[in-house]
Symmetry: C2
Subunit: 238 residues, 2 copies
């Protein structure tokens, strides 16, 4: 199979091909947090692009997670930290979710054949699933305000490695080749490597360094979140 | 000074800041070829976005370089190979020039305070010039049809190294940090490193591997090309 990487939502029109399966990645922290929600038993996640949409759901009685520029919005029940979404709070619940970059990336990719959510926490489960696909798979990085970032790019390289471990893999373009080269350099200590990245610094500034550590752990869950455009909900693939 | 890198023309709106100086880079081959033209005595280069524009200039008696998808356009005097532009052909002449990606990048960056053209061939001259700037400098990679590429990214890392050799440097975002990490891995043999890249393969397929070798040589010229938006011409900074 062929794997490619689109490093920013704004570039997706130039990477898109018919019948692609797409993996949305926002390592710090939306895609990791979505995996945690489903792992802890949330029945579905409804992603919405704007704060206004999220507030409407809140008024209608939904549990809402909302973040902008690394901080939880005041009206919301949760922010963008995976630690916010404990089993006792989310089990059996539908959660409405909007974040700075993650939900924008989902909007860009929502017309693809299959839309998965990827993180280091579910990387092996996702690789096993994708190896069953006959199509091209594209990692769509959420980035930061449409700029490229280090943590999502590194995930691309890690995912290429994970796929290679379970089957034959072709790297589709320079973007995924560069991500693979960076991952080979970073993989022995990703946390140390990412300490020079822009967003790690933002997390430190907001007192959530523990989130960064959590978001870099491999295979803490086995869930594969999949987005269904019919009802705009993310749920666990069964 | 602060250096950043914008990996695709389509992302420039998200990297742009007021008073930036911008360096257009299209290593394979437009920016290298522009440096060669001016080194060989061309008085100016008029970049145009479309084939139709270039044909009008041709009809008006100008010498024209025109390339699309790695090949010289039939009507043109030159393609995008630096070897096309010998001193005896270009000395004292204005050359009209349009290429697949390079001229698009120039269009994106044309409103910046200063717009330079960068290549491995003029990297030291350009670093010395940029160190005199008090502003932020952004490398704007031409990429390939708005996708990111390896050779322009590696130049970003090489340029960061060249600037560090002559002054204090801050890396502005993850994009230039990743480019620097890749360059440190590639610099001992960039030609070998780039043999896995997409565009190197395209050059091989078109029989111009010698161009790739030429485009990776450092400091073969001392010219700093600068674009002036008033008359849309590139000439040597004096």
């Amino acid at each position: 199979m062929t794997l490619d990487l689109c490093p920013s939502p704004a570039l997706y029109p130039f990477y898109k091909k018919e019948n692609d399966s797409v993996i949305i990645v926002d390592i710090f922290r939306a895609s990791t947090t979505i995996c945690t929600m489903l792992h802890n038993g949330a029945s579905a996640i409804i992603t919405v692009p704007t704060i206004e949409d999220a507030m409407k759901y809140k008024a209608a009685g939904y549990l809402v997670g909302a973040e902008r520029q690394t901080r939880r919005c005041d009206f919301a029940d949760f922010g963008n930290s995976p630690f916010d979404y404990s089993r006792e709070k989310v089990l059996g619940k539908e959660i409405v979710f909007t974040t700075t970059n993650g939900t924008m990336a989902i909007e860009m990719g929502r017309e693809s054949r299959m839309l998965y959510i990827g993180a280091f926490s579910n990387i092996a489960a996702l690789a096993n699933r994708c190896m069953k696909e006959s199509n091209r798979v594209v990692i769509l990085c959420a980035g930061w305000n449409n700029r490229i970032n280090m943590e999502d790019t590194l995930f691309g390289g890690a995912f290429a490695e994970a796929l290679s471990a379970v089957g034959d893999l072709t790297l589709g373009s320079d973007a995924i080749k560069m991500a693979s080269a960076l991952w080979q350099e970073a993989k022995h200590d990703p946390l140390a490597y990412l300490q020079k990245s822009d967003h790690y610094q933002r997390l430190i500034d907001n007192g959530v360094e523990s989130d960064a550590r959590y978001c870099l752990q491999h295979n803490t869950v086995t869930v594969v979140p999949v987005y269904r455009s019919a009802d705009r909900k993310i749920s666990a693939l069964v």
